[in-house]
């Protein structure tokens, strides 16, 4: 299976992800900012009215900001009525799914150009309310009803992983340290401090000095959220939006000489409850979505030179790098510890800081990953550029893997 017509990204933009600076803005306003930046990034110019459809990934603007019908709201604010405007909801994979559907709409021949984006404005709620809102993405009848939350489901996954592979939390900490090193190099990231600088800043407040990153990460300043996951194993609450402009390959030349081509895509579902799966140490939907994306692209895991994977929790990045075929099962954590996934490693994972340090406005994340690939594969990623990268992959997960979207991109 493949697209009957090639599709490329010709422009990409995103707001900075942050928990405070967007406090006074609504989701629609953040989306418009991201879309304007995407239009500006189109080399030969782009007007929103060139688009034939709009696809918006959003998890729950109803709960987070009391606004439903968000795709129509955004079409209106972009000034592009009348247009087919679709809102896509697959929890945290909402905009990865929107990207797939946007590409399919071009491949179908219905339109030549679409705007695809995602947005989540989470900071209006307090942490407890956000915990409740995110738990809506799990099985409310059979998981949250017995006390599971979103972090505790991934924590349970980690417990099974540790048992199966005889590993421990220190491997998770390697992911935290690596992603925080990367975020310092990305001005769009929510966090701008690596773990050592974070330890110094937080230590100063309580008159303590930490010798190294591990000493800080094992301290009470990094409290347990749901064992074994500590605060710095979890992505933060973020506001933000991201947008890309997709064009059919046969018209992309009007917009840019260096498009980033979608080589392959995949999407798969799995049981909503983690307990219904035979193995808690892999996401079957990720394995299937990746298999389909690789097959369509003609590439294998060995061809991937840079990847953004869905590290909503550190354990998720380790499992992702195994599910995507980058490392053998049980070796994902060791690979992170050995620096193989660092910015200067053999396969840089989450050079932008990942969800952990860049931030995770849930509905925006999938397209923000595509934004990162647009920059990386065109050599425009600035200080976190992976030198010479031409083929990249993104992996966007809904909740605990009940929805997964994967895309493989290549410099056009």
């Amino acid at each position: 299976m493949g697209l009957n017509r090639g599709v490329s990204i010709v422009g990409a933009g995103m707001t900075r992800f942050h928990n405070r600076i967007h406090m006074d803005k609504t989701g629609r306003e953040l989306f418009v900012e991201a879309a304007l930046e995407a239009a500006d990034a189109v080399d030969h110019g782009f007007r929103f009215r060139d688009a034939g459809a709009l696809f918006v990934g959003n998890f729950t603007s109803e709960v987070f900001e009391g606004q439903g019908h968000i795709a129509a709201v955004i079409a209106d604010w972009l000034g592009i009525n009348p247009i087919p405007a679709y809102r896509i909801e697959d929890a945290c994979a909402s905009s990865g799914a929107a990207l797939n559907l946007g590409a399919m709409s071009i491949a179908s021949g219905m339109t030549d150009i679409v705007v695809v984006g995602g947005v989540e404005k989470m900071s209006r709620l307090n942490t407890d309310q956000v915990t409740d809102a995110l738990a809506l993405a799990a099985d409310s009848s059979y998981e949250t009803s017995v006390g599971f939350t979103f972090p505790s489901i991934y924590a349970a996954m980690a417990s099974a992983y540790f048992k199966k592979y005889n590993t421990d939390w220190e491997q998770l900490a390697a992911v935290t340290i690596k992603n925080h090193r990367n975020c310092v190099l990305n001005p769009k990231a929510q966090f701008q401090l690596d773990i050592m600088a974070t330890a110094q800043r937080m230590g100063e407040k309580s008159g303590r000095i930490f010798k190294n990153e591990m000493e800080f990460l094992k301290s009470d300043l990094n409290p347990i959220i749901s064992s074994p996951l500590r605060l710095f194993d979890c992505c933060p609450v973020s506001d933000g939006a991201a947008a890309i402009i997709l064009a059919a390959d046969d018209v992309a030349g009007r917009y840019t000489d260096t498009p980033v081509k979608i080589m392959g895509m995949g999407q798969a579902s799995d049981t909503i409850a983690l307990h219904s799966r035979p193995d808690f140490t892999t996401l079957r939907a990720a394995v299937k979505a990746a298999e389909d994306a690789y097959k369509m692209s003609g590439f294998t895991p060995k061809n991937i030179q840079v990847a953004d994977v869905h590290d909503c929790f550190t354990i998720a990045e380790i499992v992702a790098t195994e599910d995507l075929g980058f490392f053998p099962k049980g070796q994902g954590g060791k690979s992170a510890e050995e620096g193989r996934t660092a910015l200067n490693g053999e396969l840089p994972i989450n050079p932008d800081g990942g969800l952990k340090a860049k931030g995770h406005p849930v509905g925006a994340t999938g397209v923000a990953m595509a934004y990162e690939m647009f920059k990386q594969l065109r050599g425009q990623a600035g200080k976190h550029q992976v030198q010479g990268a031409e083929v990249g992959l993104v992996h966007n997960v809904g909740a605990a893997g009940a929805s997964v979207a994967v895309q493989v991109f290549r410099r056009g």
């Binding site: 942490t127 407890d128 915990t131 409740d132 738990a135 009848s141 059979y142 998981e143 949250t144 009803s145 017995v146 006390g147 599971f148 939350t149 972090p151 505790s152 924590a155 349970a156 996954m157 980690a158 417990s159 099974a160 540790f162 048992k163 409290p223 347990i224 959220i225 749901s226 064992s227 074994p228 996951l229 049981t271 409850a273 983690l274 307990h275 219904s276 808690f280």
Partner: protein
């Protein structure tokens, strides 16, 4: 017999019964009960009572609960691989939360929370 719904399942929990269903075509067991067999697609299903014992396959001590579980914090919650094969999520009860580990043998119990009956497990 009652329909295969969340309401029926919870009604049985309140009576101290851990009920799922069994596919008459392929004999697959399901918990909670489903309307369509996820293995073979059959709608020929019958109620099946699980023994209620098994071992923890995944577990965590949660310190940042959702609003409905605030009063219990910290508490242990996990996934139990039942002796019959399928797994189910439950609240770990009647012991220190840290005592529940992957591999710990547990059995079905019910924790009352006002009007609600929470599906729970205790150490055997």
């Amino acid at each position: 017999m009652s329909e295969f719904t969340t309401k029926s399942f919870n009604g049985f929990i309140a009576q101290g019964k851990l009920m799922g269903n069994r596919c008459k075509k392929c004999e697959a067991l399901h918990i909670p009960p489903r309307q369509i067999c996820s293995k073979c697609g059959s709608q020929q299903l019958e109620w099946y009572e699980f023994r209620g014992d098994g071992a923890l396959a995944a577990v965590t001590v949660n310190r940042t609960p959702s609003s409905g579980f605030k009063g219990r914090c910290p508490y242990s919650v996990g996934i139990i691989r039942l002796v019959e094969g399928p797994s189910i999520s439950g609240l770990m009860a009647f012991d220190e939360p840290e005592k529940f580990k992957v591999g710990t043998r547990v059995s079905f119990t019910v924790v009352k929370d006002g009007e609600k009956s929470i599906l729970a497990f205790k150490i055997i």
